[in-house]
Symmetry: D2
Subunit: 405 residues, 4 copies
Amino acid sequence: MQKKVKIFNDPVYGFISVPVGIVLEIIEHPFFQRLRRISQLGLTSYVYPGALHTRFHHALGAYHLMTRAVEVLRNKGVDISEIEAEAVCIAILLHDVGHGPFSHALEHTIIDIHHEEMSILFMEQLNQHFKGQLQLAITIFKGTYSRKFLHQLVSGQLDMDRLDYLSRDSFFTGVTEGSVGHNRLIQMLNVFEGELVVEEKGIYSVEHFLIARRLMYWQVYLHKTVLSAEQMLIKTLQRAKQLVQEGTRIESFGNLNYFLNQSFTDIDKKNIKNLPNHFAMLDDIDIIASLKQWTIHGDLILSYLAKCILHRKLFKIRLQNTVITPSDIAAAEALIKQQFSQLSEAEIRYWVFTGKESNRTYNKKKDDIKILMKNGNVRSFSESADYELQTKIISRYYICFPKSF
Amino acid sequence: MQKKVKIFNDPVYGFISVPVGIVLEIIEHPFFQRLRRISQLGLTSYVYPGALHTRFHHALGAYHLMTRAVEVLRNKGVDISEIEAEAVCIAILLHDVGHGPFSHALEHTIIDIHHEEMSILFMEQLNQHFKGQLQLAITIFKGTYSRKFLHQLVSGQLDMDRLDYLSRDSFFTGVTEGSVGHNRLIQMLNVFEGELVVEEKGIYSVEHFLIARRLMYWQVYLHKTVLSAEQMLIKTLQRAKQLVQEGTRIESFGNLNYFLNQSFTDIDKKNIKNLPNHFAMLDDIDIIASLKQWTIHGDLILSYLAKCILHRKLFKIRLQNTVITPSDIAAAEALIKQQFSQLSEAEIRYWVFTGKESNRTYNKKKDDIKILMKNGNVRSFSESADYELQTKIISRYYICFPKSF
Amino acid sequence: MQKKVKIFNDPVYGFISVPVGIVLEIIEHPFFQRLRRISQLGLTSYVYPGALHTRFHHALGAYHLMTRAVEVLRNKGVDISEIEAEAVCIAILLHDVGHGPFSHALEHTIIDIHHEEMSILFMEQLNQHFKGQLQLAITIFKGTYSRKFLHQLVSGQLDMDRLDYLSRDSFFTGVTEGSVGHNRLIQMLNVFEGELVVEEKGIYSVEHFLIARRLMYWQVYLHKTVLSAEQMLIKTLQRAKQLVQEGTRIESFGNLNYFLNQSFTDIDKKNIKNLPNHFAMLDDIDIIASLKQWTIHGDLILSYLAKCILHRKLFKIRLQNTVITPSDIAAAEALIKQQFSQLSEAEIRYWVFTGKESNRTYNKKKDDIKILMKNGNVRSFSESADYELQTKIISRYYICFPKSF
Amino acid sequence: MQKKVKIFNDPVYGFISVPVGIVLEIIEHPFFQRLRRISQLGLTSYVYPGALHTRFHHALGAYHLMTRAVEVLRNKGVDISEIEAEAVCIAILLHDVGHGPFSHALEHTIIDIHHEEMSILFMEQLNQHFKGQLQLAITIFKGTYSRKFLHQLVSGQLDMDRLDYLSRDSFFTGVTEGSVGHNRLIQMLNVFEGELVVEEKGIYSVEHFLIARRLMYWQVYLHKTVLSAEQMLIKTLQRAKQLVQEGTRIESFGNLNYFLNQSFTDIDKKNIKNLPNHFAMLDDIDIIASLKQWTIHGDLILSYLAKCILHRKLFKIRLQNTVITPSDIAAAEALIKQQFSQLSEAEIRYWVFTGKESNRTYNKKKDDIKILMKNGNVRSFSESADYELQTKIISRYYICFPKSF
């Protein structure tokens, strides 16, 4: 009965208990400790100053919810062995371990590998280190394990990842209305023919969950000021990469150098196993430290962008439902040319840029949530809901440019 | 600058400040103190044991939000005089003063007057007592004051009543995901051409508000166990009234007697002004006290219902999307006849009953919320939203009957 | 592994799981359901309007904390059998079942039996009803079971009763600074030589717990306005009892009659077993319903007190560190005599009364908390603390009298 | 009446309103924005992962509480002019602007200037920049303004600084029992003969505040694991400084170089005005970025310390009430010598070190809190309290050394 545990403090859930053993050892590994230096929401703290929580904290939180979900399902008679329970917990703990600095913003700027793919590379290296103890966790994570609901708890429409990040982001931003009722939702999970389902009485909770997520998207994740800051960061990194490739010497910090100098379009597949070791050295610190150095770099484009980000002189952003027209762009560019006649067309693109953000509340095909009706049948959520759920993609278009000089 | 205030403790908002003067005097009046004995959610505490908060507390909370709304609007340049500010605050404070015991459940059982009409009767009597100081408040409450937004703050799609009760009910039930972000919503209010509008960036908050309300409806207000309990209460009162009218002596408590003995279908319009004085003596206590007495009454129907409510042996309820068929009813009735052959058809109706509950998320015509676009135009919310908002009425049908004997 | 559970909603802890079986059956019994009509804090809601929670809710909450404590202790290697776990949970669930209406205030006014003694009477009757299934719970509750720590979890310096009521009262009053960190405290419990101990690192939490409790005492439980209201209620009941004994007919509600007519100084010991059946019919409703009736009673003393309580025209209270002098009393009495010359000296005592409230933060002998030091020794908390903990009794004296007429 | 405001999101207080004007301009200045990169609690996040909040957020929060305090005092009739109100708000906003990276830990390691002195240097430079608009704020901050209570609100026993950091640290660590009831405390402030006082009824809140602060000290600020981490950081910086001074080339990041190369024991008083410009470039990033580089430095001492901090392989710490003896130290050192025979005695001191932490709950002379009695007199808190408040300094001694190699 005795189970020695280590307690982590968490303002969101109170205490998080981790049993001494493989799970705790993974947490103590430098690969996982690195997540302490990867913020969950990047530059979002420029709008929500409390949103400084890290992927370390999120991974722990998602782990905690997973232990709860396992308990609820077992109480309902779902047979989950000790080994499966540990594996699904390890899988959720490591689901984001491959995230890089300012992850969503920089995902395809620093390196052209999706973070899930990178997570698998990390897990495999950890599996070697821990002598195969992560094998089942990897199988579950990849979705190749026979019991599908275990994968769905890690990665699905109602997975513990989403439940945690929505709860956690809501807590730290202070957007309390984004809270999703993780307790109630977990309480209503069940398994039917090997797949994760929600019991019928949970249907309004599911609907609320979708709308709360939608709110968080437009209120937080795609907040226009956050968008502007993140796009500026991308432009800065692109400029740095371009300068490096053109042979200009720029002092970038630590392991960022390694990545700025590489072209990852055709990665040497033999060396990919080694990638985690380089990537594990890279975190938010490298990016901000580099920005600090670039503020005094000779390149006007680079130093201006770096200073603006660092001192939070963010570019003006105009967000609209319609595509940004060429004349909108021309007008903004003209303003800059007026003052910086030395800049080329291509260079101006670093200061005047456009983009598009999309969000879809619910995609019938991809995101189907199964509802277990009281009569024992299973229906898809979109059929059960009272009304036609929004399934079309909502897009917003934006243009960014300096406010003034 | 000095403004002596009395502080009320409130777990929802922290502290509520009330200036010494007319507002405090109204609160101290027995008409308002009576609201301490009118629970906000009636028998909902049978499902959510924390939901014991009263209309007294709700009225104070709505008052608090109103002071905040006035402050926000003034900061945006909306001119609101001291007199108007006080009046709109009094109007919200008294908006529910006419509620009777177990209000929504018993509204048309004890007396056939809508609670808003009764609130006006109360206000008018208070206005006399306070020598006309409530005149403007009454005008605003009735919607006849020239500045429409003041009425809309009291009674409209986004009024302080709703913002408070959703926040408060969410807090005391523990259905935290029903929280509506009252701070953010109030922050986004504005006035355009005399009407209350929401600034464009608040559009997702409005949407979330509608969905959170919807969640609260199905999760709390129309929770099937609550429905069952409330319908049982209605049946009990109906039975008592019937017995009284048939001449059977029943001991009902306090002023409930007065109302059980009256027929209010054709109220004497001359005496209606006197009604508040009787009604003011009636509260939740009278109902529960009567139930306690009726548990030992000789009438089987009455005593059985009273005992079941009091000991929380609630009737089974089947809630469904389709109308309850006559054969469903017949089946349930047959069960009872088997055991209580002495009961007549009419009497069985007190133990087997059906009903219908409806909820509409948003009614374009009635509930229109105006959005103030960044370009200065005003559009209706239903046009601004990304998708067709649910406007049809959702109905649920139910049948209730005793679980066993 | 499967364990069917019923979920109770609780805004304080989220969800409370109760296994289907004897525990749930006890909760569904009318003796326990009656606690829904016994408020935890009586008239405290006159100062803290949210404080309407009931002993039903508190008992459930204490039960929940007990399940947590059992889990923590088991994880630390303390052997607790399934039978013991269930018994200690039942014991805490029923620890307050013998409380009467407005318990602390009226404990010795309506009936002269301590609520713990009454709880045992209730438990014994339930034990009969449930065919002996409560035997071990009763033994633990009485403190006669061999494993002392189980009793200490139910009734001791750091029992689940206190942890719950401080947390719950803090939540519903909104006195958030009274929160005691129940999670952290439970996490630090352990058992040493059969007794409950706190691990050394928990020493500051214990200290904070004592001070938070002290704050709650003076800020909430002994708040002067609450004191005044409660004393008025006691005086009202005393007056009613006196009138009854003098042969004056007064209409009191329901089972209160039974108790007003009895003298419990020499209870018939043979009939005491039957007492719970009468007492089980008595709750807050009877008291308030009676108050409502008494507002129109012919006795000036009774009706004035009843009206004042009901309409919250509370007596003025002066709370001080020194004893109230006879001349203070005389002055207040003179004021009343002036206006009500018909009142006798004895009658005036119902309107002018004095009292004393005491609180002791920590009593070395009675309340000793044992600390398990890192070196394996056990020391008493008062020795371990950095400073001389306050052990003297703090007393406050008060006088109450009507504000004006 | 119109007052354009900017809203900051804050999970602790909801929304923080800042009027457009000088206050907002100060917030937007790079000196203030830099505080976004100075964490409030340094390495505390190694124990409380949520504790990543910054001095930026704390300063905003303290500003918010100040606006509340001004409002409360004005409502009580304290005359505070618009100019004074703005000045005291600016003073609290900037009270920590002089903090360096990992402030408390590194305060005297990087530079030997107290952070308050540095704050004044910053304020003076900002005052120049803003053409004298900060003059009164500086006077209040320094305590030379005639109205003493304004300074006490900024820096005193119950200042807005403390109220905010205790509330905020409690929120982000999740040590909820450390919450101090800022609302209630502020509500009870008053001014008597020019000095800040607390009204008598607030006496238990003051006591609770002192004990909550004490809890936070031992539970959070002086948590032994945090102590160990911080001392390791200090040792690392000391080693780096020593290496630099010995002429070893070490790559430290950004402006840290500037400070490692300086000796600040005899600062050139003429240049001190220029110091903020250098110091403003230094933040947490520079420290962590340097640590990252040092993990691969040739110096065994430096790289070992850097790696241990970065990967959270923290030194074992033994905390005790008695002084660490020479033999304790010798034993720990012997362990290291065994394995690293090449290390000199002096070098071993970087891996085995001792220290002392002290905390005093209340210092009668320095921290006196004045209580305004109901009778109009003022007494010191230590006289008013029921018992001898702890005034002696509590000290803990510790020794740190690597767990294993």
